[in-house]
Amino acid sequence: MHCLKLAFLVLTAACLPVLSVTAAQDDESALRADKIALKAGRIITVLDEEIENGVILIDRGKIVEVGKDVEIPYDYWVMDMSDKVVFPGMVEAHTTRGIDRTNESLPVVPFLSVYDAIDPSNLAFEDALRDGITTLLISQGNNTVIGGMSRVVRPIGRTVDEMTLKAEAGLKLSASPMYGQDRLTQMAILRETFRELEEYLGDLAESAYEKDLEKKGETIKLGPAAAREKGAALISDKDLDFRHKNLKRLADGRLAAYVYCGAAMDVYNAVAFAEEHGFLKRTVFVLGSECYKAVDLIKSTGRPVILEPSMIHRETDPLTGDETEVFVPLAFFEAGISFAVTTEPRDVYGLRYPWYQAARLMRNGIPRETAIKAITITPASIIGMGTRLGALMPGYDATLLVLTGDPLESGTWVDKVMIGGRMVYEQEKDYRLKELLTGQEQPVEPAPQGDQEEKAAEAEAAPGQAESASEANKDAGKSQEKAPPSGQ
């Protein structure tokens, strides 16, 4: 772990400039051009049907046209990816990637923001790029009552501001007890907080009303009760102190709420509470595995949900001792609730990848379209960017992945990542990946040509042997051998 970090620090230090420099060497226009035409072998548009051998026209970071036989204007610089698959950048709707410690120990801290916790040089962002995640909503952990402000970022940039897409994406709440606390107390604290907010706003309104009168030089005519009503109209966000500002905005439904529910019973508490305090319409539920039992209630609210990475619920019957295993997303799919899946950055190889999560959905009987949407457009619209990200349609951002194959297949690798029309990741320049794959120290400078060719030869050898080894691969259809990206 430690070594990896070190290695990375060295590498990023070197890589970041190198990435751009080398890219520049390859083809000047790649970075300069405002107008790019992507010729792709396959375009997965998500919202529309897939396109074989299509073209994507990109103008100043926006997609202007997607289609099969689009004729390319003279002034567009053409990138030929006709052997590749183009896929929208994957979206992570709720994660703690890039934060070292995710929760403050105080229960109610609506004034905190992940802005101060995100570490742009964190390994997680490089990994995110490599795994094809181009948009992340970074939020506090679940071990809290009212956690604080989350924020939507892209995994590129030297400062948090450079990374930021959306500054105040939402407020994190939790209906499940924070550590060492029971549900009674959890809910009690929530209620007290909002009751206190009421009181506070009341007092504020009263004083605002009085100040207002003083300004006009009139005398007070109304008692406190009436004054509060009158004054309510006079207060604006700038009058609120930092403790109450975000809560007020939440209560007014001017802020999205990400409410974590670890168990089905929490969903009931959460829904009741959100309804009571008027932010149910802006609520996104972040659900633990058991919550599928409350699927009817969730459906009745009509709100989207975000599922935790391990999407399997195991329960043992205390009477018979039989173990039941439920694949959670199925319940939501069958109920017709739109759900997004998330990833587990620290997990063993597998759950870290959005595409792998989507594949799991498919493996357990959820149709491909839904599975793909669950990692692209659904999370995008959950974080309120459904019109900019998560699909390849005219008007959308040119935030896309160039893949070596079908997105839901383990043999596929991210070849290039484009964010807002700018090429930010190219696998052949990904030295750390090579190191992970070969176990050899990689030269930071691109290796001389001869060496490259040898590598390529090796790489081709692999499938060659495979073929000789078995006919399995001949007509295995999609499961064709993918050459390991050892840098050809």
Binding site: M1, C3, D322, D347, Y349, G365, S410, G439, P463, S486
Partner: protein, 440 residues
Amino acid sequence: MMNSSLVLLICFVLLFGFASAEAREASDSSGLLVVKAPKLYIGDGRVIENGAVVIKDGKIIQVGPLSEAPQGAAEIKCPSGVVTPGLIDASSTAGLIDKYSWTEHSSEVVSHLNVLDAVDMRSRDFERLARQGVTTVYVTPGSGSVVGCRGCVLKTAGPAGERIVVSRGSVKATMGRDSYRRGGWNRGPRGRVDFWTRRPTTRMGVTWIFREACFEARKYRDARTKPGAATVPHDAALESLAAVLDGQVRLRVQARKEHDIWSAIRLCKEFGVDLVLEEGTEAYSCVPELKEYGVPVVYGPVFAYPTGFRAGSGEANEPCLNTAGILHEAGLLFALTASDLSGEGALPHQAGFAVRAGLPRAAALRAVTAAPAEILGLSDRIGLLEPGYDADLVLWSGEPFLPTTRPIAVVVGGEPVHVAGITGAELRVLQRAAKESPEK
């Protein structure tokens, strides 16, 4: 939904199949189970299109094209399926009662003990593994002792009694931190010298104890073979270590770091013992040595970040994702293992990600079937779809090891032990029906 209907098809076929078997009392098809699929992967690279596997009392009796399959027998089939041999995990911790804390500390050399005694045959792990398509596991002893106890080979399903394939397997030795970790607690409370004081505290100590044990074993063996052996007191530990020196019992050495692997090989050379390398996290960097000495490797699990007890050891921080691929290219005999991961992280997952990192698909299949069988010395019984082999096989929903495919049916010893979408209880009913109907 697609797969549920598929499932229905399967159970229907199971029941109907047996019913019809009952009907055709006269025909020899009673008690037969036929598994049909568009593709059979034999396990050694051969593929049979539109094939069928015919099973009779726990053994495969025929593998061939559909046309040759007997009619009217019980069937399991899947329109888009692929059949492979049951997967074999060559180094698992399945069923161990207290997984990481059961090392015997009364001695550093405990090669007389059997890990089988610490296995709970009724553990959940087995059915979970079976659900993932793993039909045979080699339960490997813990890494707490320098010369640990002996492993065992188990089937993951079937009656508790009949599941033991090998009860006294290889002897396990451990290089590196795990075996001297306890040494850190050498001084008992208040620096008292006590029961623990003996244990090694450094890698040097580990190798020293290993060497000493081998010397002792050699001495013991010679003494026992000479006349007047009766006077030599029996020592079970040295007994089985002597068997290792004679090459009757295999030695498995767990080593993660490069230099541990080296010292493992060095020591075994010194005593002329063949070894199997376990875990071998950094095996990718000692390929030449492994090759030269022809060391089979049981590698795994594939991980980007160490988990479980590995994380604690601090020895798993420099992995290479393509280790499997590298070993394959080097032409080494190697098997993949999921070790303590019994859920979705199990063997198919491991193979899948080995493929992603560059291992050819066919090699991956071999690395979880035939190769481990060979390493366990059971290549005449499991690991292939061949007549005479145990009827352990997996019916996949598609090309195996893809993240989008899963085991639809798992057969162990001729019994369907897992059928997708059917709970264990229902399946048991099904099996009972299957058993009774032919006799009626």
